[in-house]
């Protein structure tokens, strides 16, 4: 553990010295300003529950944060490989597990700190200017944090899997587009081929194989707006808000964090493309 903490500290030091973290901070602040301002200032703020404005703000997060996280994680790791730093690490008496976990922590903590600062500053500034619904601001913050957490492991895995930065960029962009856009179209196409009795089941299962869907569907349910999905998804909403549903969401989220990490450890052990 101390070894991974050492790596994490080193990574954090590097991150806080670098310019990309500052840029991310600006991104988070703007995202927070937009989300909090729009949910409170528009003519629609008086109508509770899930509104179109909230849907579009959720979309901004769903578009930007996965892209950012995947690119940063995979580029850093792949870059390290290209520069030979990973090879150097492997000459030290540090286990692959400590290395990967340290890397994850070293990226997650700066991102989380910047995100918290960004939303915190936006919230404090805006609450001087207008009445702010704290619950919604916190909801958007948690959604952003969850998105980063779910995609970070995957991004490291892409980095460890790929040979070079260029590979990593290509795969990152493709997988981002896949998770955010193609996946839904594929599932929609699939539902057209299926008998109608199986549609709800397929849609239910499909949620857990995509972190974007976990966050999107999970946050709509968490905002108690499950009827938003329409009468044909009634069974899903009832199930998803039951104890079993919540457990399924938690397990799926943990799987998206742990499985890519475990495979990354395996890859480092194996010396993949070092």
């Amino acid at each position: 553990m101390s070894a991974s903490w050492m790596i994490a500290r080193y990574e954090m030091k590097r991150a806080f010295r670098s310019r990309w973290l500052l840029l991310l901070f600006l991104l988070f602040v703007s995202l927070a300003f937009i989300s909090i301002f729009m949910t409170n200032a528009t003519s629609t703020a008086q109508y509770d529950g899930f509104t179109r404005q909230m849907a579009s703000l959720l979309n901004v997060s769903l578009f930007i944060l996965p892209l950012m996280t995947i690119l940063i994680g995979s580029m850093l790791v792949a870059g390290e490989k290209e520069d030979g730093q990973l090879l150097l690490y492997r000459t030290y008496p540090i286990s692959p597990t400590a290395l990967v976990i340290g890397k994850w922590l070293g990226l997650f903590l700066p991102l989380a700190v910047m995100l918290t600062l960004g939303y915190g500053i936006a919230l404090v500034v805006l609450s001087f200017l207008m009445p702010v619904r704290l619950g919604l601001a916190v909801a958007f913050y948690l959604i952003a944090l969850l998105l980063i957490t779910l995609f970070l492991s995957f991004s490291l895995w892409v980095g460890y899997r790929m040979k070079s930065r260029l590979h990593a960029i290509g795969v990152s962009l493709f997988s981002w587009a896949f998770f955010v856009l193609f996946y839904e179209f594929l599932i929609i196409a699939l539902t057209f081929l299926l008998p109608s009795t199986q549609i709800v089941m397929v849609l239910t299962v499909s949620v857990f194989f995509n972190p974007v869907e976990i966050v999107r569907v999970g946050s709509i349910l968490a905002l108690e707006s499950g009827t938003f999905f329409g009468p044909s998804m009634y069974d899903f909403t009832i199930w998803a808000t039951s104890l079993f549903g919540i457990i399924a969401f938690v397990i799926a989220s943990l799987a998206w964090i742990l499985v890519p990490l475990l495979d990354s450890i395996r890859l480092v052990k194996k010396g993949n493309h070092l």
Partner: protein, 398 residues
């Protein structure tokens, strides 16, 4: 010793029985002792039904007057013109479908005022007659699922009935207007029921200043004509089949200056003719306006459409949109006359698809669907319903 104990118990039972029957005042006995057009004032206490009134009579309660049924049939049956019942509590009707707290039949100009109806299958059931007034009553059905409850107020075949200032909670249909003519429904509150106001086979009804909230449907209007809904509040009909106003096979209906917010569907129009929707605020619904089936001449004019997740789900071309304010309108008013230069386009392929494949609503406003919509807007689409003169400001906004 044992014998004495048995005697004592026997006398206690005898005495107890006696005391109950002594207190039990039968309402029918009191009614039978009156002449037509008498007024009787009931003092505080419990009076036992069921009772039937067959001549003009005014019954008024003073203090806490309870008229109690025996859980069989109707508690009070009125079969005469000009009966007035005021300020009493009526409870414990039978639990059969037809049973009511008050049944009014073969009668005209009956007044029911400030009556509380509790534990009744139906509240007030009026069969025929003209000029009835139901005012300031409060009612609640048995605590069972709404499919097993009766209606709060059921007007069957009435003329010129006035339903005003009633508070109706947890019944089947709050106010059921059934083959009724010239009905006025004002300032009522209906909550936690199936339909707030239900029109069937009726003509010439006016409902204004009613609050219909947390029901399955606010207003259900079917097979009727010349109905006006004005200044009502229809909110929080949020179940999966929840509609603010559901219009089916209607002719000549005017919906004006209502607030229709936080419902699953705001307004749904099916197979109807001559429907005008004017100057309403339709906000925060999952679907603002939807139409199905063969409609004719549907005018949607000068409404505010705010924060509905899907503004419209329209099928067919009979719906005409004119001078509405749409909060998702993306055009500008360059000439300063309050009207945007570009038309507001309603349906997109995605909403069309959602009408045909309801499960796609699962992805509504998701990143992929959103991108699809945006890309689609860049290209010319075929048939879409448009508002050619969308307003750029809400009502009352400078």
């Amino acid at each position: 010793m044992k014998k004495i104990l048995v005697y004592i118990i026997f006398f206690i039972i005898l005495f107890y029985e006696d005391s109950v029957s002594a207190k039990e005042t039968l309402l029918q006995t009191i009614i039978d002792a009156t002449s037509p057009y008498d007024t009787i004032t009931l003092q505080e206490g419990t009076y036992y039904g069921p009772a039937v009134i067959t001549h003009p009579l005014t019954i008024e309660g003073e203090g806490d007057v309870i008229i109690q049924g025996n859980f069989e049939g109707n508690v009070l049956t009125i079969e005469s013109d000009r009966v007035q019942i005021k300020n009493v509590t009526i409870r414990q009707s039978g639990q059969q479908l037809e049973d009511a707290g008050i049944l009014i039949q073969q009668a005209n100009e009956v007044l029911i005022d400030r009556v509380r109806l509790e534990d009744v299958q139906r509240g007030i059931f009026i069969r025929g007659g003209f000029g009835h007034t139901l005012s300031h009553n409060k009612m609640m059905s048995f605590p069972v699922h709404y499919s097993k409850r009766g209606n709060g107020i059921h007007l069957l075949n009435t003329k010129q009935a006035i339903v005003i200032n009633n508070n109706i909670n947890a019944v089947q249909d709050g106010i059921y207007v059934d083959e009724a003519f010239d009905t006025k429904i004002e300032h009522n509150v209906v909550k936690h029921s199936r339909y707030g106001i239900h029109f069937m086979f009726s003509s010439n009804a006016e409902a204004h200043h009613n609050t219909l909230t947390e029901n399955v449907n606010g207003v259900m209007a079917m097979n009727s004509n010349h109905i006006q809904l004005i200044n009502n509040e229809l909110t929080h009909q949020l179940t999966y089949r929840g509609y603010g106003i559901l219009i089916y096979d209607m002719e000549s209906m005017r919906i004006e200056h209502n607030t229709i917010s936080n419902n699953h569907n705001g307004i749904d129009i099916q197979s109807s003719r001559d429907i005008e929707v004017v100057d309403n605020t339709i906000a925060g619904n999952y679907v603002g306006l939807s139409s199905k089936g063969k409609n004719e001449s549907i005018q949607i004019t000068e409404n505010d459409w705010l924060a509905n997740i899907v503004q419209t789900k329209l099928s067919g071309e009979a719906v005409q949109l004119e001078r509405n304010y749409w909060d998702d309108y993306k055009g500008f008013d360059l000439t300063g006359n309050g009207v945007g230069q570009l038309p507001y386009e309603t349906n997109s392929t995605t909403t069309d698809w959602m009408v045909k494949h309801p499960h796609l609503q699962f992805y509504f406003e998701s990143p992929a669907f959103n991108l699809w919509n945006t890309v689609e807007r860049m290209f010319n689409r075929g048939k879409v319903v448009t508002d050619e003169q969308p307003l750029v400001r809400r009502k009352g906004e400078q």
